[in-house]
């Protein structure tokens, strides 16, 4: 067994919270640049240029790229050979979130569902834990903004609708939500599993680097075709009209019940933030 002190987890989460909100990934910046080449609308081009400039200011001046610094979504992969010492995993992560959001001047955006009273420290975090082989511990920090999350949906389709039905649901969703989730967006799609797993598959699909090809030969052409269709809708950057409505469609799929076809669409705004580290 390899021992890891939970204090290390707190430190790592704090660092990831701050960096993820200030340093947009190179893959996203590259997608902006490519979008700029393809965008036909002058307003759309202007917006993409502003987004590139915004990312530069955030990184250099150490301020969040977006004021919505999100709910703290943390994916943890724990090796079976790891023994955590010094306290609870959940508390260690929460403490990292508390410190990161305070010291990084990040916005606290968590509240009671009815009274809307802010919890004051951006906890509780949303934590997903996976047990994996090995003696390492991987942390992925993916702050998620409210605007794009609000536009996401899970549905249970009738199996007979097949690929065509899933595609229609996804594209209809993008069309209906229009400008609200801050396009250009990334569309995470989860197909199969159960009601809750479809949503998690969709969220995990958002973590895949932009520009990467889906390793599943069945899904790769779907991602390409659906993206082309979405970018013919005309919604464009910020929904003010244009070509580049989405930067990518990412699909995760797994088997499901013989009676079911669960589908989830998780929308990611252009501030597609996630950073990871391994302990």
């Amino acid at each position: 067994m390899r021992e890891i002190h939970v204090g290390e987890i707190t430190k790592a989460v704090k660092d990831l919270a701050i960096r993820s909100n200030m340093e947009l990934g190179e893959d996203v910046l590259k997608a902006f640049e490519q979008g700029l080449e393809q965008e036909e609308s002058p307003t759309g081009r202007d917006i993409l240029k502003h987004l590139i400039e915004n990312a530069r200011i955030a990184r250099e001046e150490r301020i969040p790229m977006c004021q919505d610094t999100g709910l703290a979504v943390v994916f943890v992969e724990i090796g079976q050979e790891v023994h955590l010492v010094g306290g609870s995993l959940r508390e260690a992560i929460e403490e990292g979130v508390r410190q990161g959001y305070e010291e990084g001047y990040l916005r606290k955006s968590v509240c009671h569902p009815f009274t809307r009273q802010n919890t004051g420290d951006n906890t509780p975090a949303i934590i997903h834990v996976d047990l994996v082989p090995g003696d390492r511990l991987k942390l992925i920090f993916a702050p998620k903004g409210g605007g794009s999350e609000n536009m996401s949906r899970v549905t249970m389709l009738t199996p007979a609708v097949g690929i065509q039905g899933v595609k229609e649901f996804v594209i209809q969703r993008v069309k209906e939500m229009g400008p609200n989730p801050c396009p250009p967006t990334i569309i995470g799609v989860g197909i199969g599993g159960t009601f809750e797993v479809a949503a998690l598959l969709a969220k995990k699909a958002l973590l895949r680097p932009l520009g990467s090809v889906n390793p599943d030969a069945e899904l790769a052409p779907l991602e390409k075709g659906w993206l082309e269709e979405i970018n013919r809708l005309g919604i464009g950057p910020q929904g003010l009209g244009g070509r580049i409505t989405s930067l990518a469609v990412h699909i995760n799929m797994m088997p499901c019940h013989i009676a079911s076809l669960p589908v989830a669409v998780n929308i990611q705004c252009h501030a597609a933030r996630h950073k990871e580290t391994e302990l």
Binding site: S41, C66, G241
Partner: protein, 184 residues
């Protein structure tokens, strides 16, 4: 691309009347922040017949909940939040003289009708460009509801704050017309 129009708040009906969808505008002067929780309180005050924390006549409200300012900064990141959540409240404020709103995303028919009837305009700011937009904010003072944290009402002094006219006072809607123009 056409030159941006410079406007200074408070806005008059004549200022608003000239604007058309797609116009790029640089706002100067005072802008007030309010989002979900603050709007709810403003409307409750109006319903109770009590005075508002600021006179909305001619003013512009920015739908934003900024991130905290670092020492030496006026404000942290300060991009717009999605506006439809304020649709239930906006017509009441427009009827009382509110001339402009800054946010992102479509408005409903009730808001668009109020804008036409009372000469008001809806500006889109670039969602998610919070670091960039903070550059145009010179000062930020909380004037009401400090207990709401990021949702407190702030008085912002802005300089050349970049926005685009998304809905004008003549029924124009850039979200509808822009998407139609580029749909294939």
């Amino acid at each position: 691309m056409q030159e941006a129009i410079r406007l200074t708040t408070p806005l008059k009906s004549e200022d608003v009347d000239k604007l058309r969808i797609g116009d790029r505008v640089l706002l100067n002067g005072i802008v007030y922040t309010a989002r979900d929780a603050a709007h709810k309180r403003l409307i409750q005050l109006i319903e109770a017949g009590e005075p508002l924390p600021f006179d909305v006549e001619g003013q512009v409200i920015y739908y934003v909940g900024p991130s905290p300012a670092k020492p030496g900064q006026a404000v942290g990141a300060a991009g717009p939040t999605t506006s439809y959540r304020m649709d239930a409240y906006a017509p009441t404020l427009i009827e009382r003289g509110l001339k402009g709103m800054i946010g992102k995303g479509k408005r409903n028919d009730a808001v668009k009708d109020a804008m036409q009837n009372h000469k008001a305009v809806y500006f889109a700011a670039i969602g998610g460009a919070g670091a960039l937009m903070a550059k145009s904010i010179l000062s930020a003072d909380i004037i009401a509801y400090p207990e709401l944290g990021p949702e407190a009402i702030r008085k912002l002094e802005v300089k050349n704050f970049p926005v685009i006219v998304a809905n004008d006072a003549h029924g124009g809607d850039l979200y509808e017309e822009g998407a139609k123009a580029y749909a294939r």
